[in-house]
């Protein structure tokens, strides 16, 4: 067995010399001749006879060659050489196919890489489809949360879950106090949290149950990033004491490298949640501490069943809440994937659809090009078959060509995909989950390779399966009718699909320009926002915080060029602390009905806020600096709120009751114009500005920023502001950004979506037009003789042009009609993404067909005009 293999291998490398066989055959002939002469035949006749009997020498040679192990390699190489020669002879065809394949495969692979994590890939936990986020939702908080008092009951009485575990509601800033201080994100979770997710620490251990108790020992787990970065991957990190916010804590574990919190937050330090059931009935107004709750469904329990089983418990909890709140609270149980990818999924699906459409167009293009080439080569195939090429050989040749093309196209596509993914990641705004982790991986590469092989095999076979008939030897027969019909249908379909893509992209573009152009109600140019992270364990009283900011305000006001410097807790178009409309109680008016009227944005500002953002005061007056030290609390209403609260009345001088606004009464001193305050795309809410007075009680809360309106270039301002901050406290980190940049970043998401879909729509258009151009050009060449005859019989160039163009225009018109109908039908899917644009936006549905017709007309006229330049005398004589 082994020796046999060795022999084969030897012959694979050392081929026999051709002359050996020749000599052997010559010897055979001589022997034959000698025998016959000896038998008495005529020597002159003998050689001829012997040769006849011997038969063909060349086939024998071929057959002997074919016996050689590995001789098929030679055949393949020959096929490859032949294919390459063919491609070189026809570069336009080759380049069109390659570009089409690269675009199709590249775009598909890139987008698949991006949406894969969002739509298809399992989350990085054990059996992730069984993990759910459980809790209540509320009009002001759409992510599930739960209050500690309810959690005590749920833990006791729930039935649908095998495990429940809580984490704190958000990551809070904390300080690592040591020689090399750092500000970090801290979070807490229960001891059961990691086992619930099926994660174990990469180093050390999870918390112990006795550590997850109130007043338990101070232990922490740290993130992989913190360990590798801040602690240089110290192998002795376990049991090391670190100082977090002034409290020493022992490191017991390091989280895995790719660990992600189910909330997608990033935190560096985890402490035990230390849930204390005993106090939950008393803390936080009797509701208990808020938390995020995750659970694992018991086997066989669906999300719907779990909701049904939890409903009675939830209804019981509702009894503690005041009646108006009951209406707004709902039980919510969602799978983890739904929670993580909530609002990105529609976009991801649309993107996926767009890309599949582009891939379809690309495939149709390649199919069309291959078919045209096949039709043009019928004669060549017929000749090859006539001089002895077998059917199998022809099919193998065609397959080789197709696979070679799709392999090259696949490679180019992978390169293209890599580039596109890099572009996507660069362009992508924050808030799209997982995108920064998107990269080409093996699965996706395999997906592309499979795709390209499939494309190649199908087109290759389509071209080769057709048996070249003898008729093809006679070049006067043009390509068969049904082929022509297939190609026309392909081109028509391409046009229809690209209409759908274009109108989708156009709708998004219109929506995006509306977002960009809308009036925010304030000035954004020349305004600098300054955010400061005061270490809270040093600035631990409101008095200290207020002192810091007041000193900063007065020093910023002294800077040259400063027109206004104010403080606020937030800045439009972001909202701020919501107040319930029904909670606003005005002196001398009946109270509103609880739970009705939605929310009111409340903002706590200093007098310069309106000046800095140039928000006009339409009635009454702005806050004044002397108000800040007075006893009275002043408020300014937005016009919307004033009109709603005091329709047809004078709002100035009205007084809010002491329990309604920030726990004290307040008097209305002015009405400001409306400002966009609920994000860029949502409807604005009514708004109330309270004066941030210079008393410590007004300086609670951790959200505070300074806005500076300056006549100086902002780039020059930044170092000044930095040095002013440093002169007060040089350890405070400062973050600065021009306001218009902040706002432009808010539009990143729609910009990203629009760019992406626009790119694919244009790719689709280009491919479809290439297909149309190719078909018309091909048909014109095929009809050269016919055109020659027509011209010889007296047709003018105009006649010929009309003849060819009308053919193309028919396809375009049918494509337009089908495409428009489908686009109108499916545009509903875009609805959630559109801002102030109807899904039947007339402008879009006029402009897109016009654009496409125009481009298509050019694609038709160029080859058609070339067709009219036919010289009748030349074509008629050509064959």
């Amino acid at each position: 067995m082994i020796s046999e293999l060795l022999t084969r291998f030897r012959f694979l490398i050392f081929r026999k010399r051709r002359s050996e066989l020749d000599e052997e055959i010559e010897f055979h002939l001589e022997q034959e001749i000698t025998t016959r002469i000896a038998a008495g035949m005529d020597p002159a006749e003998v050689r001829r006879q012997a040769l006849i009997e011997f038969g063909g020498i060349e086939p024998t040679r071929d057959q002997c060659e074919q016996q050689r192990p590995g001789s098929w390699i030679g055949t393949v190489l020959q096929d490859l050489r032949y294919a390459l020669r063919g491609f070189r002879r026809n570069p336009l065809f080759t380049i069109s196919v390659l570009v089409t394949l690269a675009l199709g495969i590249g775009a598909t692979t890139a987008v698949f890489s991006v949406v894969d994590r969002i739509l298809f890939r399992p989350l990085p936990y054990a059996d992730p489809s069984r993990i759910v986020s459980v809790g209540m939702v509320h009009s002001l908080e759409r992510q599930e949360f739960l209050m500690g008092r309810a959690y005590v009951e749920w833990q006791k009485d729930q039935t649908p879950f095998s495990v429940l575990a809580a984490q704190s509601t958000m990551v809070h800033n904390c300080d690592l106090v040591e020689n090399n201080p750092a500000q970090l994100g801290c979070i807490t979770f229960q001891v059961g949290f990691l086992p619930l997710l099926g994660i174990s620490p990469v180093l050390g251990r999870n918390f112990l149950p006795e550590e997850d108790h109130p007043n338990g020992p101070h232990v922490v787990m740290i993130s992989y990033g913190l360990w590798k970065g801040h602690f240089d991957g110290d192998p002795h990190i376990l049991d090391r004491m670190i100082n977090v916010d002034g409290n020493p804590a022992r490191v017991v574990g390091v989280l895995p490298k790719d660990f992600q919190f189910p909330t997608l937050e990033s935190a560096d330090i985890v402490s035990p949640f230390a849930f204390n059931p005993a106090v939950q009935q008393t803390v936080n107004g009797g509701f208990g501490d808020p938390m995020r709750l995750f659970a694992r469904l018991k086997p066989g329990v669906s999300v719907a069943q779990a909701s049904a089983q939890m409903q009675p418990l939830f209804n019981g909890d509702l009894n503690w809440f005041p009646p108006f709140a009951k209406k707004e609270l709902q039980l919510s149980i969602r799978t983890l994937r739904d929670r993580e990818t909530q609002d990105v999924r529609p976009v991801a699906w649309i993107l996926f659809g767009f890309v599949l459409a582009v891939l379809l167009i690309a495939c149709a293009n390649v199919a069309g090009l291959m078919m045209a080439r096949g039709a043009g080569r019928q004669r060549e195939l017929a000749v090859r078959s006539a001089i002895g090429a077998s059917r199998g050989r022809l099919i193998r040749q065609a397959l080789t060509e197709a696979l070679l093309l799709s392999f090259a196209g696949g490679l180019a596509g992978l390169a293209m995909a890599q580039a596109l993914v890099m572009v996507f990641v660069r362009l992508a705004p924050t808030g799209i989950p997982f995108i920064s982790a998107a990269h080409l991986d093996l699965r996706i590469a395999a997906f592309a390779a499979l795709l390209s092989c499939l494309c190649g095999a199908i087109f290759g076979l389509a071209a080769a399966l057709e048996k070249p008939g003898l008729a093809a030897l006679n070049a006067k027969v043009s390509m068969s009718r049904n082929h022509a019909f297939l190609r026309r249908s392909l081109v028509t379909a391409q046009i229809a699909v690209s209409i759908i893509l274009l109108s989708g992209a156009a709708l998004l573009l219109r929506s995006f320009t509306k977002i960009e152009e809308q009036n925010l109600g304030m000035q954004t140019g020349g305004v600098l926002t300054v955010k400061l992270a005061l270490p809270w364990w040093r600035y631990n009283t409101n008095q200290k915080v207020m002192d810091f900011y007041l000193r900063l305000e007065s020093s910023l006001r002294r800077l040259p060029g400063t027109r206004a410097a104010g403080m606020t807790d937030s800045i439009p178009p972001e909202g701020s602390l919501g107040i319930r409309y029904s909670d606003l109680a005005v002196q001398g008016k009946p109270r509103g009905v609880p739970g009705i009227g939605g929310t009111v944005v409340g903002r706590s500002v200093t007098p310069d806020y309106f000046r800095a953002l140039n928000i006009p005061i339409v009635r009454g007056r702005n806050f004044a600096d002397q108000d800040r030290t007075g006893d009275e609390s002043e408020v300014i209403l937005s016009r919307l709120l004033a009109e709603r609260l005091f329709p047809g009345e004078e709002p100035l001088g009205k007084r809010f009751l002491s329990d309604s606004v920030r726990g004290r009464g307040a008097i209305v001193v002015g009405v400001a114009d409306n400002v966009k305050n609920n994000g860029l795309t949502e409807l604005s809410d009514p708004e109330m500005y309270t004066l941030r007075r210079s008393v410590p009680g007004d300086w609670g809360g951790d959200r505070l920023m300074v806005i500076v309106d300056s006549a100086m270039p902002l780039a020059a301002m930044e170092p000044w502001v930095r040095s002013e901050v440093a002169s007060i406290d040089r350890t405070v980190p400062v973050e600065m950004e021009p306001l218009n940049q902040t706002i432009s970043r808010l539009a990143d998401r729609p910009r990203f979506e629009t760019t992406l879909l626009g790119f694919f729509a244009l790719t689709g258009l280009v491919l479809a037009v290439v297909g149309l151009y190719g078909l018309i050009a091909f048909m014109t060449t095929q009809r050269t003789r016919e055109i020659g005859v027509r011209m010889a019989l007296g047709a003018t160039r105009g006649n010929i042009l009309r003849l060819i163009a009308s053919d193309g225009l028919r396809m375009v018109l049918v494509g337009l009609a089908v495409g428009l109908g489908t686009a109108l039908a499916v545009s509903r899917m875009l609805k959630t993404l559109l801002f102030h644009v109807s899904i039947y936006d007339p402008l879009t549905y006029i402009a897109v067909p016009l654009l496409l017709s125009l481009v298509a007309l050019v694609a038709i006229l160029i080859p058609a005009r070339a067709g009219t330049r036919v010289e009748p005398a030349v074509t008629l004589r050509a064959e």
């Binding site: 020796s3 046999e4 060795l6 022999t7 084969r8 012959f11 026999k16 050996e20 066989l21 000599e23 052997e24 055959i25 010897f27 055979h28 001589e30 022997q31 034959e32 011997f54 038969g55 063909g56 086939p59 024998t60 057959q63 002997c64 074919q66 016996q67 050689r68 192990p69």
Partner: protein
């Protein structure tokens, strides 16, 4: 010329192996010997002879070398290799099994024995 019988697939290999098992032989000699032994019933055309020889050589069952013939002419002689000898034995055994089976089916078992 007597009508030649088509050789069963694979039978040619067996005949060639058997023929050169006796002594090393060149291609023409093999053809002649088969024709002779079969009393002109089996005629091996060079179109199938040489591919078969090459195939057997590539399989490592026979080996070739150039030698001088009795009338001083250079010719390529084929001889069995040890693997070829084993192969011949296997093929002979399976041929016997096959031919007796066919004979049984055709009802000539008694005559054949």
């Amino acid at each position: 010329m007597p009508q030649s019988t088509d050789l069963l697939q694979g039978t040619l290999d067996l005949l060639i192996l058997q023929t050169i098992a006796l002594e090393p032989m060149h291609g023409w000699g093999v053809a002649q010997r088969i024709q002779q032994l079969s009393k002109d019933v089996l005629q091996v055309g060079q179109g199938s002879l040489y591919p078969a020889l090459y195939r057997l050589e590539y399989k490592g069952w026979i080996r070739s070398e150039w030698q001088i013939t009795e009338n001083n002419r250079r010719a390529k002689y084929y001889r069995l290799t040890p693997t070829g000898k084993k192969q011949l034995a296997t093929e002979l055994a399976s041929w016997d099994r096959l031919s007796s089976a066919i004979a049984c089916v055709l009802g000539r078992a008694t005559e054949a024995s």
